[in-house]
Amino acid sequence: MKVRNRVSALLAVLFILAVASAQAHHSFNDIFDVGTVTTLKGTISKIDWINPHVYINLDVKDSSGKVTTWGVESPPTNHLRSAGISRQDLLNNASAGEVVTVHVNPAKATAKADRPLGLLMRITYADGHFFHVRGDPKEIAAAK
């Protein structure tokens, strides 16, 4: 009985903490499908170095050769700068047509985006170096 009391008291505490944590939500889940990881390969045509979100414009070619420009929503400029990532670091060799691999959470079908949109998780450059900005690295390893 005593043990059960102790367990239930601790469970109650854990429940309170879980609720407090769940309340700290933000917008990503409303627009982006954070349960899905999409892998994009393409070239960076432009970077909009703006707040509240930097956008990477990624030109992705499909098998028929048709190019679609994805908007890749990225962290604010000061978050990137504080992590040592400049606009030029993001561009890397974009002017030479470098093909980069970008892992995103795609926008939900319900999001009224005017173009294909993704939330940046990781961008990997041709030489293998990458900037991981969000999410669990395991999810990226599991993505195709």
């Binding site: 903490l17 909009d48 703006i50 707040n51 009224k112 985006a113 170096h129 969000r134």
Partner: protein
């Protein structure tokens, strides 16, 4: 039974300790940054007051990013920003429904969503301070743009009017309320106490519908100890608040080798998505 009570007390203490470690960044910000130390001696201006000049680092998140070769693994900035917990103001019961309604419609009602100014105290602690014997200027490279405040500290009162610009015109121009208001500072020992008035009612005190009136008055206290600066704000708006709201203090660290940068242009690109956006962390 006594044993049960003991277990409950221990559990509550553990919960408070856990919660505090999750939500309170006070002191933690200081510990994270190697340069900040309250033990270092506090530099002073020739007039004897603590020298508040400098670039003060106020965020925890990016400091915990890791560099692996040429790669960077960024810390979850939003998780650490959420951990900065300013606390919650207590509204008079008759305004609770309005706060809730505004919170529900935050995306449409909150000016910061369209790159508007955050206002005081939502803009948070100082970022760059220029400090002379007469006044103090605070610069912010905020997510929503560049903002500044000029604060007299030599006994000049709050300005309510400004001289006319038109020759022959004698009437002084009344100064309109503004998001960051009109500030005056005075020293209480080694603490600079700043009183902010004439704040416009179109900003919020924080996320979640925390509206205020034009009678808002904010008292900020800045205390430098060594290479740390503590900012604490108290919000008074007796028309809508049941009691003054004392925000949890924030401790910043001096970054002598760094400098504030011009904020990037703020442009709201989420307009088309807004109908789906319910909440966004705007802690600064």
């Amino acid at each position: 039974m006594r044993r049960y009570a003991f277990v409950v007390v221990v559990a509550i203490i553990a919960a408070i300790a856990l919660y505090t470690s999750r939500t309170s960044v006070t002191g933690q910000e200081a510990r994270q940054a190697a340069t900040g130390s309250p033990q270092a001696s506090t530099p002073r201006l020739p007039d004897g007051h603590p020298d508040l000049n400098g670039y003060w680092y106020r965020r925890l998140a990016p400091m915990t990013s890791q560099k692996v070769g040429e790669s960077v693994i960024m810390a979850d900035a939003f998780a650490t920003l959420r951990a900065i917990n300013p606390g919650t103001p207590k509204y008079k019961p008759e305004f609770a429904a309005r706060v809730k309604e505004l919170e529900k419609n935050q995306v449409h009602e909150d000016l910061t969503y369209i790159c508007g100014p955050p206002g005081v105290p939502r803009i948070g602690p100082p970022q760059r301070i220029f400090h002379t014997a007469r006044d103090l200027a605070i610069l912010y490279d905020d997510l929503n743009g560049n903002f500044f405040r000029v604060i007299p500290t030599d006994g000049r009162p709050h300005r309510t009017t400004r001289p006319p610009n038109v020759p022959g015109l004698t009437d002084h121009l009344e100064i309109d309320p503004s998001p960051h208001g009109n500030s005056v500072g005075r020293w209480e020992g080694d603490t600079l106490v700043i009183e902010v008035r004439n704040l416009s009612a179109d900003t919020w005190l924080g996320d979640n519908g925390l509206f205020h009136t034009e009678n808002l008055r904010v008292i900020e206290r800045l205390t430098r100890q060594g290479n740390t600066l503590t900012w604490q704000a108290t919000v008074e708006d007796p028309e809508v608040l049941a009691e003054p709201w004392k925000l949890n203090p924030r401790t910043l660290t001096l970054r002598p080798d760094d400098e504030i940068e011009e904020a990037a242009f703020c442009q709201d690109r989420d307009t088309s998505l807004k109908q789906d956006l319910t909440y966004h962390s705007n802690i600064r």
